[in-house]
């Protein structure tokens, strides 16, 4: 087990460096001088542009910039946005909001997908199973921005059950609707993988063995079956995190949430390369670490997956 975790960790390091380097290269290829348009109505003087370029080290080769950036990142110095705010401040304001949004969304997904998915796996081709399959496929087919709009309009504007947009403090109650919207598209995959693994597990030897040992049915399903069903579901959940993080850019925009997705989108528009690079790096690290943890949990649940 330790050997597996160690090997995973070793593989994780080059992937992390590579992914952040790719992201860095993409961000710094953004066209346009970030400083030219910063002086309001008048054109910026060349001296100002030169001074700012030097201050942020943009005159150095890209590779050097990346290494300096990595060094700063490791020492916890995230730098400043081009308008002089500390990027760490920007992150500490945006990240908790997005993290809460993501957690609420995952709770909604897991509760709904697990109850419906497991039930329809146990009672295949029943009414619940067929209805759930169709509903989830239809919801899966709706682009997230359409779902977000309709939900905002119907629940927020027409019926007035929730506030259409989220207030700056982003209380948890107001985040439920955006989180549910985020959950809808992703939930279908989780539900289907749970249904498939439950259905497969029901005919397995280990389940027959457990039954023949005389365990109660609740223990057979609740412990023996669930242990085997959890690994694939966890994997999907880890990988779907990418879709969740991407979806936040759109959902945060529509519901006016001041989170990471919104900050990244606005920073791209404003040519705030350093902010974009840092925020995206934070997101990538977050995503990779979650998947590393998922891998390790899966290896604990299912020893066979350690050899892969």
């Amino acid at each position: 087990m330790l050997k597996f975790a160690g090997r995973r960790l070793l593989q994780f390091i080059p992937v992390l460096i590579g992914a952040t380097a790719i992201c860095w290269a993409l961000v710094w290829a953004l066209p346009g001088d970030p400083f030219r348009g910063r002086c309001g109505q008048v054109a910026c003087s060349d001296q100002y542009v030169a001074a700012m370029t030097q201050k942020y080290g943009l005159d150095r080769p890209l590779v050097v910039q990346y290494l300096v950036y990595l060094k700063n990142l490791l020492t916890g110095n995230l730098g400043q946005t081009f308008s002089g705010q500390d990027i760490s401040d920007v992150i500490s304001r945006a990240l908790p909001v997005t993290a809460r949004l993501a957690i609420i969304s995952i709770v909604i997904q897991v509760v709904l997908a697990a109850s419906i998915g497991i039930y329809s796996g146990l009672k295949q081709n029943g009414i619940v199973d067929v209805t759930a399959l169709f509903t989830s496929l239809i919801l899966f087919s709706l682009p997230i921005f359409v779902v977000a709009f309709v939900a905002q309009y119907v629940l927020g504007v027409k019926l007035g059950w929730v506030k259409p947009t989220v207030s700056p403090a982003a209380p948890t109650s107001e985040l439920i609707l955006p989180a549910a919207v985020l959950a809808i598209g992703i939930m279908a995959t989780l539900m289907r993988i749970l249904r498939a693994s439950v259905a497969e597990g029901l005919h397995s030897d280990y389940l027959r063995t457990a039954r023949s040992k005389g365990f109660k049915e609740s223990r057979v399903v609740g412990v023996h079956l669930m242990r085997n069903v959890m690994a694939p579901a966890l994997n999907v959940l880890g990988l779907e995190f990418a879709a969740l993080l991407g979806g936040t850019v759109i959902v945060e925009g529509i519901f006016n949430i001041k989170g990471v997705g919104g900050v990244i989108y606005k920073a791209i528009q404003d040519r705030e390369q350093l902010t974009v690079a840092t925020m995206v790096t934070v997101v990538i690290i977050f995503y990779l670490v979650i998947n590393l943890i998922v891998d390790i949990i899966c290896a604990m649940l299912d020893p066979r997956s350690r050899d892969v």
Binding site: Q11, F12, P14, V15, L16, G18, A19, I22, C23, L26, V27, A29, L30, P31, L137, I138, F140, S141, L142, P143, I144, F145, V146, F149, Y153, T189, L190, R192, I193, A196, P232, N235, V236, L239, E240, F241, A242, A243, L245, G246, G247, V249, I250, G253, I264, Y265, I268, Q269, V276, V280, V283, I284, Y287, L288, N291, L292, D295, C298, S305, V308
Partner: protein, 322 residues
């Protein structure tokens, strides 16, 4: 991170029984050929009787014709607007109503099919070809090549896809970029960040079949590496890739729509559903039809591909065959 995605897992389930039984001699190889045709014919027989598959494939066919020859379905220029008709509700003159510039929503929805389907098909074919290429090389050569390809794939998959697309598109395109260039950049981005998942499925399939008796026998007989790969190993990997790809088409179409919605995809005079939804957003309360109809078309298109993929997966699953 080495575990496949959900749909890949579903796709992988059905590789358990080799489609291609062991062969050595030419005669046997031919006999075997008819059997591997048999699998597809079996699948076709199952699919033909599935109403959902027939309906979704018909929808895809109609949409394809719509994309190739939109003038068959709607007369008039999708960009011609008459301000007298601004935000007019559906009527015999315009079945789906008119947008803020008085353009016919029905005509625009029909012309919008092209952008979505082009992205959907091009990305699917591109990711499949590149994924198959690198996946089979990784699995067949093994060793350092395998590690390098697999780690590069991990790196690309480590970047959340939507974020990557947003960054690339805002990096490489401006409002002046011609639409065909935007479209090519969009397709290339999806392919670059999308091939690793196909490569992963292919790699694991090939690893399973690589040590199968018939492959070892082929090698023992002195068949060249490429012949073993193309004639004996790859045919087994086709069905999971086919299923996975069909299910992915909808995802690519949704991505194009989302990016156009964010203002990063196609821009006027090109017509795309995502852009129409984005344009219709401010008039949701006064003229919901401007937003409703492109959304419905988008959802139906994605649903058709998902259902077709689903039916294909069931039909190709050995567990469902007698």
């Amino acid at each position: 991170m080495s575990e496949p995605l959900a749909d890949e897992m579903a796709a992988e389930v059905e590789q358990d029984s080799p489609v291609h039984p062991a062969t050595v001699s030419r005669a046997e190889a031919e006999a075997n050929d008819t059997r591997s045709h048999g699998v597809w014919i079996d699948a076709w027989r199952i699919l033909r009787r599935k109403p959902l598959f027939v309906i979704s494939v018909s929808v895809i066919a109609i949409l394809t014709v719509m994309a190739i020859a939109p003038w068959l379905f709607a007369s008039g220029d999708p960009n011609k607007g008459d301000l007298a008709y601004s935000l007019k509700p559906p009527s015999p003159a315009g079945w789906f109503g008119f947008d803020i510039n008085g353009r016919n929503v029905y005509t625009r929805v029909i012309y919008g099919a092209r952008a979505s389907l082009t992205v959907g098909f091009a990305c699917t074919i591109g990711t499949a070809l590149i994924g198959i290429f690198f996946g089979s090389i990784a699995a067949y050569t093994g060793g350092a090549t395998d590690s390098v390809i697999s780690r590069i794939g991990d790196m690309l998959l480590g970047i959340p896809f939507a974020l990557a697309a947003i960054i690339v598109l805002s990096t490489l395109t401006t409002f002046d970029t011609p639409n065909w260039q935007v479209e090519i950049i969009l397709i290339m981005t999806i392919i670059v960040f999308g091939w690793p998942s196909i490569a992963r499925v292919l790699r694991s399939t090939v690893l399973v079949t690589r040590n199968a008796d018939y492959v070892v026998a082929g090698q023992a007989l002195g068949l060249s590496g490429s012949r073993v790969l193309f004639r004996h190993i790859l045919p087994n990997a086709v069905s999971p890739i086919l299923v996975l790809s069909t299910m992915r088409v909808g995802g690519y179409i949704a991505t194009e729509a989302s990016l156009s919605y964010l203002g990063l995809g196609l821009h006027p005079p090109a017509v795309s559903w995502g852009q129409m939804v984005s344009d219709g957003q401010p008039y949701l309360r006064t003229a919901f039809y401007v937003l409703l109809f492109p959304s419905i078309f988008l959802a139906i298109t994605i649903l058709a591909f998902v259902l077709a993929g689903e039916a294909l997966r069931e039909a190709l699953d050995p567990a469902n065959r007698k």
